[in-house]
Amino acid sequence: MSTRDNRDRLVLMQGTLDVLILRTLIFGPQHGQGIARAIQQTSDDELLVDHGALYPALQRLEVQGWISAKWGTSANNRKARFYTVTKAGRAQLAKQSNRWRRLVAAMSRVLGPEPEQG
């Protein structure tokens, strides 16, 4: 495990996992564990992906038709279920990213500049 303790990491907010999964899959097919690891890595270990919550989320996205899944073999020669983002998934990602960016920007404006640390 990485050097940071889980307690320091940010727990994902409701609804953010879906868009992160879609974003991660833009770079190509990936299996569940790979997605979790990729999210953690790209967020510089800031985000903690609850592995138990990841799979129901993947299932939900699959039912919605935003991702598709296929069993395959991973780099370390194990069986894994690989997910690919669909066309509808890409559109959804574009919509969601935009929303999140606006939300973040708005939040920052309200919260103001970071206070000086004494």
Partner: protein, 884 residues
């Protein structure tokens, strides 16, 4: 439950396992020992079982899974209680079958499109004039439309339907244009339809029914011959059972129209009769009004010719089904449907009642389910599923019942109809199609909501702590509900019983009504297809037969309803007796609508109508169709009150006041020669004619259209004697329609009789249902109150007091129901009698109300008898011991 397109739980588990394996690999790579890495990976994943659970619940087919589970559970629970299952299913099945029968008949006559190609584009041409209308044309008119209107119609079909004798039986035969089969393309079981190649050929297509009856459904019938009025026709095709013709009267044989020329009994040279029906197929995209517009010149051409009204116009009537759905039709049928639905509602109330009682028994089970975390919605859904199971079973049993009832009903119809009419009636195939199945399913589902929802809501509303302790809270509401259901049932059965008794009373009243003439022994003979010129020919033959004692010729026989009203005005040229008191001198007295009938002098004697004043027609007057009249007593009284009618004159006008009637040239001034007693010559329900004038006629007169005969002895015309006499005219005996007047009378009241029987059946079923409902409620409360009764008896209550305890409850429920039922019936019949004004029918009569009340209250007392007796058998010692 597994569906092929659904992801399996095992697949999900495999994925979770793969995840943990990958994570372990990574942790080992990070430097952990394999054992630690695996534990850490498991820990990071969290609860695998919970993830599986979440996967399961995220599945969109969850409801189906639960539904299947509910079904399985429901089937098991119901299976454990076969008595409960049988009672509820049978109760509902009886009611559902009745509703299904009603719908099947409605479907066959109104909803089901004809089994032909594109029935929706078929229209029938009709003609309308200000005071008449019809759907019959001459063959020439048909050819006219066919040849000139191909722009709007893609097909124009002509058909003449008539009964033709075939080996002593009558067959309904369609004489059709050569494009009938190609244009309609009905399904054939064997052989081929008729076509242009059959012109002048003696080829015939049989209906499925006729094939089954005449050839016992033998496939070798193809190529064999059938006889139609002595001529032999070769069977070239057999139709599938679905198609029986383009209206509600099924045809049995189809032959080329050219064959009609051979059978047609018209005398050479006379004007061809209007007896062809025209059905057209409208071209795509052509609106009906436009098509009607293009027919205008055609209608005008027809109007130029003789015997057609001047201002005649053509209309198109939708002909996709036997009867089009219209508001009027639905308005007429809605009380009938209401009666059937009421019975269904009573059955639902009964089942609901049983389920409420059962919910009490299942109290504990439901409480356990609720405390284990089932939501209330989930419990209600489970109970509704059980209800649906019962309803669907009942629907299936109901369909089987309905099939049997329909067969029995048709048999009953033919065995109760007067025989001469039963021979004329043809019933369309009353088969189940997808509409009937859908209807049965929809009604079953709807009844589930009605009978199962309330008990389910009731059962799932409980306080867990009380329930688990075995206390029954909230049953007070259920008890009130059950009482309300019984009250409603008693009310409904009262409505139905009163209605049935009212119908029965009117039926017997009309049966015994004095018509003013004797029907016994008199036969009415009509000429089919308006070929009235044949009356004279038949009269000669009849007169030559020694078995016939009396013959009268008429312009329309009594009880055969024809539209023949004129306005009659008392002549003003003969002094003051023609002027009514109070009216201004010199002004013409008002015209009064009156029925008129052309009759030969023998008419009054053959029907034994007494002459009140003056004389009857002489044979000279009859021969010359002299302008003389016999008027009815009521007419004489109305025109010349207190005075002498004989010798006065009357003027006959069209009802709208124009002088003279087209069909009655030369009857502007008619001298009254006699006064005859009043008779009821139209619908019996209308009672005696308010006004009636008789005009003289002889057999060769164009107005003579029917005959009345009286044989020397009734036995003389048994069997086929009359047919044999008809044959002596040289015509097909089926040209004439002979009906004993007695049977005509029965026919007129037959609808009332049938309605009384059906109403009685419905009422009886509703009554039985409400009695069993009442019985259930009383037994249940009794079982709840055994302890109380025991204590009462121990404290010295007499048997009488205990009985009255039970009886009081019964009387309260039945009494309340009776009050509601009587009020509703009274209001409904009052409303109905304001709509239906029939002189000899009284809808608001005390006797049916009183009889129904006695019947219903007596029955409820009977229902209370057994529970009351059981109450008296309560052993005080036993109950007190149980108490301690």
């Amino acid at each position: 439950m597994r569906l092929p397109w659904r992801r399996r739980e095992s697949d999900f588990s495999a994925e979770v396992d793969a995840h943990i394996a990958h994570e372990t690999d990574r942790l080992i790579a990070d430097g952990m020992t394999p054992a630690d890495a695996h534990a850490a990976a498991r820990k990071a994943f969290g609860n695998v079982a919970a993830a599986n659970e979440r996967f399961y619940e995220a599945n969109r087919w969850l409801w189906l899974d639960q539904f299947v589970g509910d079904l399985r559970y429901g089937a098991r629970t119901l299976g454990q209680r076969p008595a409960f299952l049988a009672t509820t299913v049978l109760t509902l099945a009886v009611a559902l079958s009745l509703v299904t029968v009603a719908f099947t008949i409605f479907n066959a006559y109104v909803l089901r499109p004809f089994a032909v190609q594109d029935p929706g584009s078929l229209y029938r041409i009709g003609w309308r004039a200000p005071d008449s209308g019809g759907q019959e044309f001459r063959w020439r008119d048909f050819e006219d439309v066919r040849d000139q209107q191909s722009g709007v119609f893609s097909a124009v079909i002509g058909e003449h339907m008539r009964l033709v004798s075939s080996g002593g039986q009558s067959l309904s035969v369609a004489f059709v244009s050569d494009n009938y089969f190609p244009a309609l393309a009905p399904r054939l079981l064997a052989g081929r339809g008729l076509g242009p190649m059959d012109a002048n050929a003696r080829a015939a297509v049989l209906s499925h029914q006729a094939w089954s009856r005449m050839f016992a459904a033998d496939p070798s019938a193809l190529g064999r011959e059938i006889e139609l009025d002595g001529r032999r026709f070769t069977v070239v095709g057999i139709l599938a059972p679905q198609f029986t013709g383009l209206d509600e009267y099924p045809r049995e044989v189809w032959v080329p129209y050219s064959a009609y020329a051979e059978i047609r009994p018209t005398a050479a040279g006379s004007e061809p009769p209007r007896d062809v029906e025209i059905v057209v197929r409208l071209r795509d995209g052509i609106p009906q009004p436009r098509a009607e517009g293009t027919l205008r010149p055609w209608a005008a051409r027809m109007a130029d010719l003789t015997k057609a009204p001047a201002d005649l116009r053509a209309i198109l009537l939708p002909n996709a089904t036997a009867n089009a759905v219209s508001m009027e039709l639905l308005a007429v049928l809605s009380p009938v449907f209401a009666a059937f639905v009421l019975v269904l509602a009573t059955a639902c109330a009964n089942v609901s009642n049983v389920m409420l009682a059962r919910a009490v028994a299942r109290h504990r089970e439901i409480a356990v389910r609720l405390s284990l975390g089932a939501t209330r919605a989930r419990v209600v859904r489970q109970l509704l599923t059980e209800g649906l199971l019962i309803a669907v079973l009942a629907g299936a049993v109901g369909l089987a019942f309905a099939a049997w009832l329909l067969r029995a009903g048709v048999v009953a119809l033919f065995s109760t109809l007067p025989p001469s009419l039963a021979a004329l009636i043809r019933v369309v195939p009353l088969s189940f199609d997808y509409r009937v199945f859908l209807f049965a399913l929809a009604v079953a589902a709807a009844t589930t909501l009605v009978f199962a929802l309330v008990p389910a809501l009731q059962a799932s509303r409980q306080r867990l702590t009380d329930a688990l302790h075995g206390q029954r809270s909230g049953t007070r509401g259920a008890a009130r509900l059950r009482s309300a259901l019984v009250v409603a049932q008693v009310a409904v059965s009262l409505v139905l019983v009163v209605t049935a008794l009212t119908l029965a009373r009117n039926f017997t009243w009309l049966g015994a009504l004095d018509l003013g003439y004797q029907t016994a022994g008199v036969h009415s003979i009509n000429v089919r297809g308006e070929q009235t010129e044949l009356v004279g020919r038949l009269t000669d033959v009849l007169a030559a037969d020694s078995r016939i004692a009396e013959i009268a010729v008429t312009g329309g026989n009594p009880m055969f309803i024809r539209r023949r009203n004129v306005a009659v005005r008392a002549g003003s040229d003969r002094g003051q007796t023609g002027v009514k008191p109070g009216s201004n001198q010199g002004q013409a007295p008002p015209a009064v609508p009156a029925r008129y009938t052309f009759v030969s002098p023998a008419y009054f004697s053959i029907l034994r109508i007494p002459l009140i004043d003056g004389r009857l027609f002489t044979s000279d007057e009859a021969r010359s169709a002299a302008p003389v009249a016999v008027v009815s007593e009521a007419t004489a009284r109305a025109f010349w009150p207190g005075g002498n009618a004989v010798g006065q004159t009357i003027a006959i006008e069209r009802p709208d006041g124009r002088q003279q009637v087209d069909e009655l040239p030369g009857y502007g001034d008619v001298t009254v020669v006699g006064v005859a007693a009043d008779v009821a010559s139209g619908f019996i329900v209308d009672g005696k004619d308010p006004n009636h004038i008789y005009l003289p006629v002889h057999a060769r007169h164009p107005q003579a259209s029917a005959l009345l005969i009286r044989p020397r002895a009734a036995s003389e015309l048994r069997g086929g004697a009359l047919q044999e006499i008809f044959r002596r005219t040289g015509l097909d005996p089926e040209t004439f329609e002979a009906v004993p007047l007695d049977e005509m009378r029965q026919t007129q009241v037959y609808p009332l009789r049938a309605a009384a029987w059906i109403g009685g059946l419905l009422g009886a079923i509703a009554l039985v249902l409400s009695i069993s409902g009442l019985y259930g409620v009383l037994s249940y409360t009794l079982s709840q109150r055994t302890r109380e009764i025991g204590i009462r008896m121990a404290l010295g209550a007499t048997t009488g007091a205990v009985v009255s305890l039970v009886m009081r409850q019964s009387v309260r429920l039945a009494g309340f129901g009776a009050v509601v039922g009587v009020t509703i019936t009274f209001a409904a019949l009052k409303f109905l009698s304001s709509l239906v004004r029939l002189k000899e029918v009284s809808l608001l009569n005390v006797a049916p109300f009183a009889a129904a009340l006695v019947l219903v209250l007596g029955a409820t007392a009977l229902a209370a008898f057994h529970p009351a007796r059981r109450a008296t058998r309560v052993d005080p010692a036993e109950t007190l011991r149980a108490e301690a």
